[in-house]
């Protein structure tokens, strides 16, 4: 009983039961309707046949009176499957015909009998005793008060009803069997797949983070579900790894400035208070803390960008406007460092994105370009180009600074990586990492290229951003 209850808890069994109930109800309604229609049709046909017969008998009576009527009746009655014929005197005594006995009261009616009645035929050997038949009949009073009854046996509609009933039971049986088969093959198979998915996810939850859900290769819905869930798990574990790397890097790279901060405070403490050195140490401490805050903010920013796309934070933005804004922002700095900052824009380039993030990434790149080219070139120059290339928009910042060796380019966008040449420069070393995170957020990429001298950093935006 408990097992049955458990089976009924499965979706497949419930669906099968529901289908069975539904189809069964439909079948019953259909059969009842069909039966009643056919019974009514057969009854109408019976009536018509009896009416016709009565007319014929009436004509014989008109022609030759009772004897002619009886003759015709006797003739008709001998045929196989004949109608019922009966002539009785006004008192109800049977005079002629093929009916031996009748339900009492039938002969008292006029016209059609209102309901089927029981009768027995002459000369019928009834194997199971006196099995009575039912019939419908028309009762007519002849002009000489004799009673004429013409009727027809109702065996045929009765038989039909029985056949239909049997068909109905059979159909219901087949349907129940079909429902069982559906449950057994479809439901149970699906159930087994779901159970295996449940088991696999339970294993993964239990700590087997590298585990994945089974894919049978059938390419069905379950495989698609498994594949999607596996992709999700892969993404989660990538994020997890990223998080771990961030904490490692934070621990490693923030330790240095924090130690410096502590040493400075300790040193100041050992001095006499109120001295000039005291004040300088405090100011240096604040400056160092500010730099730490900045680094923290950059790390947070990168993490939140890597956490994923948020449609809420994006809208239609024109990259040309952003390029103009950023160039305008950096123009005085560039001029002061003796760097020529130029921009080349071809038309407007509207994309879906976040203006502040793109502006920040571009600022970081332009900032770097100005810094590096200022120190390393005779005629330092930074060029910001915005152009469409096939179905992408490329925003490229190129400088004629020292550049980055091809081998180091990939590393340069990783968190906290500061190539040896940049160790002396101020900054958190997160500028390019942040730019890369921004590009990933926008479904694009960050490309580092360059000739022998100089570096070109391209922010590549897809123009037909597929929002995921």
């Amino acid at each position: 009983m408990r097992k049955l209850a458990a089976i009924m808890k499965t979706t497949a069994a419930r669906l099968s039961a529901l289908y069975l109930l539904l189809f069964g109800a439909c079948a019953i309604v259909l059969v009842i309707y069909m039966t009643s229609v056919s019974v009514r049709m057969i009854a109408a046909q019976t009536r018509e046949a009896v009416n016709e017969e009565t007319l014929r008998l009436g004509r014989a009576y008109d022609r030759g009176g009772i004897p002619a009527l009886v003759r015709l009746m006797e003739m008709q009655a001998r045929q196989p499957g004949a109608n019922l014929y009966l002539i009785a005197d006004p008192n109800g005594r049977l005079l002629a015909g093929n009916v031996e006995s009748l339900e009492p009261g039938v002969l008292d009616t006029r016209g059609w009998t209102s309901r089927p009645f029981a009768y027995e035929r002459y000369g019928e050997a009834e194997p199971q005793g006196h099995a009575t038949h039912t019939a419908m009949a028309q009762v007519i009073r002849l002009p000489n008060q004799m009673i004429l009854l013409v009727g027809r046996d109702l065996g045929e509609p009765e038989r039909l009803r029985r056949v239909v009933q049997r068909a109905l039971i059979l159909a219901l049986g087949i349907m129940a069997f079909g429902a069982f088969l559906i449950w057994y093959f479809v439901g149970r198979a699906a159930l087994r797949r779901i159970d295996s998915l449940s088991e696999a996810s339970a294993r993964i939850m239990g700590g087997d983070l590298a585990g994945r859900l089974p894919v049978t290769g059938a390419g069905d819905e379950f495989d698609r579900l498994s594949e999607n869930l596996n992709a999700m798990l892969a993404r989660i574990s990538a994020l997890n790894d990223g998080l771990k790397q961030v904490s490692d890097n934070i621990a490693h790279d923030l330790k240095t400035p924090l130690t410096r901060l502590r040493n400075r405070a300790e040193e100041a403490l050992s001095k006499k208070s109120g001295t000039k050195g005291h004040r300088e140490a405090l100011e240096a401490t604040i400056a160092e803390s500010d730099q730490l805050i900045r680094t923290f903010n950059a790390i947070l920013m990168i993490s939140r960008l890597e956490a994923g796309y948020s449609a809420e934070a994006t809208g239609e933005i024109d990259l040309a406007t952003i390029v103009n804004d950023v160039c305008e922002l950096y123009e005085p700095v560039a001029e002061e460092s003796g760097v020529g900052l130029k921009s080349g824009i071809n038309g407007t380039h509207v994309i879906t994105g976040n203006r502040e993030l793109v502006a920040q990434a571009l600022s970081n790149i332009v900032d770097n370009a100005i810094k590096y080219s200022a120190d390393h070139a005779d005629q330092p120059e930074v060029l910001v180009m915005l152009a469409r290339k096939e179905d992408e928009v490329q925003l490229t910042v190129s400088d004629n600074g020292p550049g980055i060796a091809p081998d180091d380019r990939q590393r340069a966008t990783e968190r906290f990586v500061r190539l040896e040449t940049s160790r002396t420069q101020p900054g958190s070393g997160l500028g390019l990492s942040l730019a890369r995170a921004v590009m990933t957020f926008h479904g694009g990429r960050l490309e580092l290229t360059g000739e022998e001298t100089g570096l070109a950093v391209s922010m590549v935006f897809p123009t037909n951003r597929v929002q995921s």
Binding site: I286, R294, S310, A313, V333, Q360, S363, P426
Partner: protein, 224 residues
Amino acid sequence: MKILLIEDDREAADYLERALSETGHTVHVARDGDSGFTLADSGDYDVMVVDRMLPGRDGLSVVAGLRARGNETPVLILSALGEVDDRVTGLRAGGDDYLTKPYAFSELLARIEVLNRRAGAREVDTVYRVGDLELDRLSHSVKRAGQDIVLQPREFRLLEYLMRHAGQVVTRTMLLENVWDLHFDPQTNVIDVHVSRLRGKIEKGFDGPILHTVRGAGYVLKAG
């Protein structure tokens, strides 16, 4: 200035209370959203500083609730959250400014003082005056001691912002946000260079400095 601080972290709240009191402000502290809401609803504060994550009722719902009751006290929202659209949701809930933790106290202080609507120029003023410096927002003209000064559009907006908050310290980030509409911390001294250019135009050949640098904080525009 009367400041309401709604912050659940005891250490942070104590530090802010002390530091803000030392700069001459009256500070009331609430440790959770509900008591903060009650205080804000009954008291007459110049500025509120609301932490976003609070026990019980969270900061955004406190701000939204106050706004729904017609309380227009300027609110600075503090947040340690790190979603990309946090600032947008914070401002949408009714906050006037948004600052992400960790922050420098000088930044917080400058932003609180600028939020105070009882100080600085009013939004409706068309002409700002500081000492002998005059800025006409309608005709986009700037004069000092009666002499016309020609400014680039961005320089004009920079001066306009500084003059609206004359006497108040404005930080580099505030300038970047309000003049350039960019919300990040510039790595280099981009803002300093813009300010020193502006300073050259409004101070060179005139009497005395008017645009001062506040060490470790930002800039302040004031006469004398």
